[in-house]
Amino acid sequence: MKRALTIAMLVLLAMPLLYAMSQLPPHGSATSPAYTHISPRYLERGPEEAGAENVVTDVILNYRGFDTNGEVTVIFTSLAAVLAVLLAGRKGDERPVREPAAEPSPPSVVVRFVVRLLGPFVTMFAVYVIINGHVSPGGGFQGGTVFGALVILITVVLGRSVAEKLQPLGVRRILQAAAPLTFVAVGVLGLALFGDYLAFPRDEALAWVRTSWLMVIEIGIGVGGAAIISAIFWQMGGDR
């Protein structure tokens, strides 16, 4: 009964949605407002005035850099939120001790070998994705996620103690805050030098400065993203 009602309600909801969709500018049209208003400037002048051949990178790091500043803050918030929910609470409130029925058998030698073998290559791929973000698809967050996935893999196969060596305890908090901090640092530098927060040098002669700033931000996002993703995984108890 509840299901039938829900379906009826959703069909009723879908009608106005579909009607509105039919009134939108046609899909794929090159004359729609979305394609003629702001994006032509990005597409035409993006590479020379914003510094990256990949226009998407121009948009996320330069034209709309503040959104990405907010985005990395969102994922930092998510880490803080997961910690707030999962860090052991009061005494007697900790999770019930559930001894595993049998010690899970460690992964086979082959698996461990393959992971050790893959590690350097995955790292190299992650670094490639991060520092080539301005000329090809990819960028800081994608590369950071790839590296975070490697940390997760190492945690599962070789154990958390091995994986944690990749993030020394002393600097871990800094690493986790790396992305927002890089943004604030570059942003304030832009404010000091060029008068606007997150302003990049516009001058043609300073093109290399522009590109290197983009790269610094990409690296910051990558490091921060990888640190946060692995920390969330550990805190959720993925190694258990």
Binding site: L24, Y35, I75, S78, V85
Partner: protein, 117 residues
């Protein structure tokens, strides 16, 4: 109207997925299942916004040797990059809460939890 819908088939697909996701969120009892439904809703909105940026015959907006116009609109792509990160952040927090609720109550079925209150 039907002809327009046919042309805007991407948008129609998004609406259908949106409704399926909403159905899952409303009717499913299991909290994890509810959240998978919410993720479907999220991706449907992402698909809608990406579809806004598509241009017939458009290529990826990466300039350089060999690139030729027309290019797809980069703005929706930039927005959705942010959107995907926001979605995974929400999911991480929700799953943490679900784990804690299970540890406290021994169940993650919404109706059983309601009886406990």
């Amino acid at each position: 109207m039907i002809a327009m819908l046919w042309q805007n088939i991407d948008y129609v697909g998004s609406v259908v997925l949106f409704c399926i996701g909403l159905y899952c969120v409303i009717t499913k009892n299991n909290l994890i299942k509810k959240f998978i439904g919410l993720n479907i809703m999220e991706t449907s909105v992402f698909a809608f916004i990406i579809a806004l940026g598509v241009v017939d015959g458009g290529e990826a907006p990466i300039m350089g040797a060999g690139a030729s116009a027309p290019f797809t609109n980069p703005i929706p792509q930039a927005l959705i990059l942010t959107g995907i990160v926001v979605a995974v952040s929400t999911t991480a927090l929700a799953l943490s809460l679900i784990i804690r609720i299970y540890e406290h109550c021994g169940t993650i079925e919404a109706d059983e939890l309601r009886e406990m209150e």
